[in-house]
């Protein structure tokens, strides 16, 4: 029993020692430092569209 446990431990250590680092296939996202809930996003969407329409020279 002890022998088997040791083998498992050694096996786990061997596996653990071999850390594989893969380059992420997706770009790392740097989130905008902004806290906004989804309900606020949807509530502001209409106002944002209106703002763009009414001030189109600056957008």
């Amino acid at each position: 029993m002890i022998g088997r446990g040791l083998a498992v431990t050694i096996g786990a250590m061997a596996l653990g020692g071999c850390v594989q680092i893969d380059t992420p296939d997706k770009p790392i996202e740097i989130n905008l430092n902004i806290n906004i809930k989804q309900e606020i996003v949807y509530r502001l969407d209409g106002d944002a569209k209106k703002l763009i329409e009414q001030n189109s020279s600056i957008f």
Partner: protein, 141 residues
């Protein structure tokens, strides 16, 4: 020349008063048609900088430089960003912050970019808008 002018005067006199009324209607129509498009128009230098990909839309609702700016481009961007900040500040509805309102507007502005124009993706890289949907923040509506 002077003969022509005299003829015009005569015709103007003959048109009275219907001529004046019609001219007034025509002028009103022209103003009604011209004013909204004049307001909607971007400064030609700004439009050119967008088309050339020198400036682009950022997820935060402001313009950024997609390539190192000239002094003229920097002046355009600074001017517009100041005006945008003022618009976000006065327009942010109750219960939302200026940054939140700017962010949601930025989502819309990136969605509205035309093919060839630049925008900043959530990973911070500048992308050129193509025929497909732009890469936007996952929180965008």
């Amino acid at each position: 020349m002077s003969g022509n002018w005299g003829m015009k005067m005569m015709m103007t006199k003959m048109w009275k008063p219907t001529g004046i009324a019609m001219a007034a209607v025509a002028a009103t129509t022209a103003v009604a048609l011209l004013v909204p498009s004049a307001m909607a128009q971007r400064d030609p230098a700004y439009e050119a900088a967008r088309a050339a990909g020198q400036v682009g839309e950022q997820p935060d609702g402001y313009l950024g430089y997609a390539s190192p700016p000239t002094a003229a481009v920097r002046a355009i961007v600074d001017d517009i960003n100041i005006k945008r900040k003022a618009a976000y500040t006065s327009g942010a509805p109750a219960g939302s912050t200026v940054e939140q309102f700017a962010f949601v507007t930025g989502c819309n502005l990136i969605a509205k970019t035309k093919p060839g124009e630049k925008y900043k993706a959530p990973d911070g890289s500048w992308k050129t808008r193509d025929g497909g949907a732009p890469v936007r923040d996952s929180r965008c509506p």
